[in-house]
Symmetry: C2
Subunit: 176 residues, 2 copies
């Protein structure tokens, strides 16, 4: 699940990379020091924040459970914005960590500062005028081994009348 920077702020959700690189914590758990993400092949930092489950899920694994977690997260963000409730407290009443929904937080500045899947997904939501909480999925080749090439994804979408956007088109539309 990709969430806007302002959603991460409202709910006080830290980047896992920052959480794990806390000096005190690293001295207590040396494995955090050695597992540092300093060699991402697609970017300089990982977008992951805390994973979550809605407290009313059972395992959190089924589509039913995942749907509850993701839908309520987006709804709760809207509710919190409208009512000016404390976001962190409201989040804790309904959600727990660790969970089965990995969450990625948009970089501050969005697509202007980072052009990752997270920022693209959130950018699309902004363009559509909906809550910046989006489910992203990677399209794989039919045998699942590798990412689907762009041309094949475009063809798949055309066959189903699904709009196909490139990152560049999205950024142009957003005026970036």
């Amino acid at each position: 699940m990709a969430i806007g920077h302002e959603v991460g702020e409202k709910f006080g959700l830290p980047y896992l990379q920052d959480l794990h690189m806390d000096e005190d914590l690293m001295s207590k758990h040396p494995v955090l020091q050695v597992l540092q993400t300093d060699d991402l092949q697609y970017d300089t930092r990982s977008a992951f924040t805390l994973s979550i489950n809605h407290r009313q899920t059972f395992t959190g694994i089924t589509d039913h459970d995942r749907s509850l977690t993701t839908r309520r997260f987006a709804e709760l963000y809207s509710e919190v914005c409208e009512s000016e409730t404390n976001g962190i407290e409201a989040l804790g009443k309904e959600f727990r960590t660790p969970g089965h929904i990995p969450v990625c937080r948009e970089s501050e500045g969005g697509l202007s500062s980072r052009q990752g899947h997270t920022e693209l997904a959130v950018g699309l939501a902004r363009l559509a005028g909906v809550t910046p909480v989006v489910i992203g999925a990677e399209m794989l080749q039919p045998d699942g081994d590798l990412a689907l090439p762009v041309d094949e994804a475009r063809k798949w979408a055309a066959e189903r009348n699904i709009p196909f956007l490139t990152g560049e088109e999205l950024m142009t539309a957003l005026g970036i």
Copy 2:
């Protein structure tokens, strides 16, 4: 991925719940306090430890990448045990966190202390005499909404000549 208690010990992998409930860390990130897992519907504690990616993966998402991460993790554990290398250092050379493989760590005592999916998966590996590093998957109903009932899973396995074991059979075979 489910890993044996001794694997978690060798690699110094903490339970996320313990990591997140560090007093200093909670005071820096109040959201950790409110997102506490204190209401699991299937157990008293979550088995999650740090998620990982092999450093040679690209996104970490494709089957190819996931296979590299999980296969090398199991191989590395065997290598470290044979060579008496420092497990934590060896792990850090090949892996990073956060990643796209969520890892669950067996409770100390295994099935004698907790009968979760993690302990059952690891228990099966012990019975088979292989490295206690196992991929577990939840079988869903064809529409993906809910967990597949046991009778349907049994039928599915029978149709494909796949051995079907219950947790009770596994525990009996392990003498628990």
